[in-house]
Amino acid sequence: MTLEALSRPSLVRRLVILAAGWTLAVLLVSAIVLALLFQQAAIRRFDQGLAELIDNLTAGASIDDRGQVIAPALTDLRALRAYSGKYWQIAEPTPQGGIHVLVRSRSLWDSELEAPADIAAQLRSRPGQPVSYDTRDELGKPLRAMATQVKLPNRAAPVIFMAAEDRGPVDRDVRGFITATAVVFVLLGVGMVAAVVIQVRVGLNPLFALRREVASVRRGKAERVVRVYPTELAPLADELNALMAHNQEVVERQRTHVGNLAHALKTPLSVMLTEARQTKGSLAGVVEEQAEAMRQQVDHHLRRARAAARTQGSGERTPVAEVLDELSRTLERIFLDKGVVIDWDAPDDLYFLGERQDLLELAGNAMENAGKWCKAKVRIRTTPISPERFRLSIEDDGPGLTPEEREEVVRRGARLDESAPGSGLGLSIIDELARAYGGSLTLGPSRLGGLLVELDLPRAEA
């Protein structure tokens, strides 16, 4: 795609970007929410474990006669091994706002569980409620800790029970969950964007089909848009058909007008020509000259009008053999005195994709030309080139043209607009018509001795 094409607004792109953007945003938000929920749930479970440990401590703790706190004998081995990752301690708040450790698990060895500076204040404000926080042990392992302030019987000062555990496994679980979620959601996103692209293309398919149909109408392969379109496009297709019909009508009307005008001028011109011929004097000469010029102009523009109308395809098809048969009979009559014999050949199932009148003009002018220059023989052959095109070759046994002359004729044909009307060979008309049909005219030497005229023309399916 070129830069220009990219900067142009595109329905497909707009729909894809909108749908994909929306989808991706939804996916991203869901992924984040899921991860957060998972993390919260994991930590809640973790905290429950800590709360149980604190409950066990609280339930088992006792006060001896001296008011010393005696910790219960807990069976969890991890609390006994040094720096195992599972710790507990029992402390009391100090008047300075800090805490003073009374008893601690073996695993803490000679360290203490760190606590936030304002822990005592926090606990005092919520007696009996646990307070959770994150910290690190002596080895730097991340810990999740919990503390509860309780009043024990037989002891005036409140006691703080604290428990902590290595939160590494939970963090690892959360990270694993986030990675898996991300992978799944990225895959889901790619899949959904692909689905959106397919959906848009499939959804817009009738639009592309309509474009193709209109193009084939323009190229003359069809007369109108005929497919059945969805409700949204059907009115557009109808409008297009109406527009094309209108165009056709306008062109047809113009053509008829031009034709009528041209033909209406011809009889008065005949009269003027004849009258001028029979009169002597300079005026007669001028009239004759000008009448002749007018005749040529009328012919020229009549032909141009006919050829111009050809760009409007009609989708009509014309049997080639029939037209060649008609023209052969007619031309043999025209050249009866000369005894011209036309030998044509074309399969019965060969059809020209275009109007009968145009094939008559194309072949008729080429054949008349051949008849004019031949000694006695004109040969016409047809060769299918492809399912869409065929070649019509017309050759004669006349004097022909030298390569230089052929070049000159072709060169003149290449710029028809400037060429004078009434050119001697009549090939310009053929060239113009053949071009209007997307075809071409080529000249060459004939094996019969004269000129070979080859026309490349559109072919209709049999």
């Binding site: 004849t274 008609e326 036309i342 030998d343």
Partner: protein, 228 residues
């Protein structure tokens, strides 16, 4: 020589009438199709100059009616319309020559002279075999009165077969007759022409004699015989 001029434009009629009279022809003028048809059918003209765009009945229809009524007078068509479709229609209706307006009077007179010379030529007898008729003078053929539309090679083939009615004619003989002496490789085969002529006159008229050639015969039942 007596000529019928059919033309509706008064100025052109006057001019042509004058020019034809000056050239020594006796001229009758018909300004519309109806009168032209009547005059052509009743008066023995040597040639007709027929304009195609006529009031009442158009030129092509007038010509078709004459030919159907066996009026064989040579006809030169005048028309403003020079499209091939119109030329084909004119010749198929039975015209002998065609001139597109505007034209020089000299050209019209020259064409007329050629037309008269041609029709006055060799008066070869016409051939007739079981509804099939061939008139060598006008180079026209009809089947049961309907004009046959033949190209020159098809006409030659039919003419030769009719001249040798009932005889088996070999392909070689037909080729020699159709293509003169310089027969070349690229020419159509005889089968192509036999096929086309059969299509135009009815398939059962020309019989294929295997290994030998072709033979034209009159159908066993005249006219009524269904070609099944």
């Amino acid at each position: 020589m007596r000529i019928l001029l059919v033309e509706d434009d008064p100025d052109l009629s006057r001019q042509l009438k004058a020019a034809l009279s000056d050239a020594g022809y006796a001229v009758d003028h018909a300004p519309d199709g109806e009168e032209a048809q009547f005059l052509g059918e009743t008066e023995p003209y040597d040639a007709v100059i027929l304009d195609l765009g006529l009031p009442k009945v158009d030129g092509v229809s007038v010509l078709e009616r004459w030919r159907r009524g066996n009026v064989a007078t040579p006809v030169l068509i005048l028309t403003a319309r020079g499209a091939w479709s119109e030329k084909v229609a004119g010749f198929d209706a039975g015209a002998d020559d065609y001139l597109t307006k505007p034209f020089h009077t000299e050209e019209l007179l020259a064409r007329l002279r050629a037309l008269l010379r041609r029709s006055a030529g060799h008066a070869a007898p016409s051939l007739s075999i079981g509804g099939l008729r061939l008139d060598p003078r006008a180079a026209r053929a009809t089947v049961n009165g309907e004009p046959l539309r033949l190209t020159s090679l098809e006409y030659r083939l039919l003419h030769y077969l009719m001249m040798h009615e009932g005889r088996v004619i070999s392909r070689t003989e037909l080729v020699e007759h159709l293509y003169d002496q310089d027969f070349d490789r690229d020419s159509n085969t005889i089968e192509v022409f036999i096929g086309r002529v059969r299509k135009k006159i009815g398939a059962d008229r020309i019989e294929t004699v295997r290994g030998l050639g072709y033979r034209l015969t009159a159908p066993a039942e005249e006219l009524g015989g269904a070609a099944t």
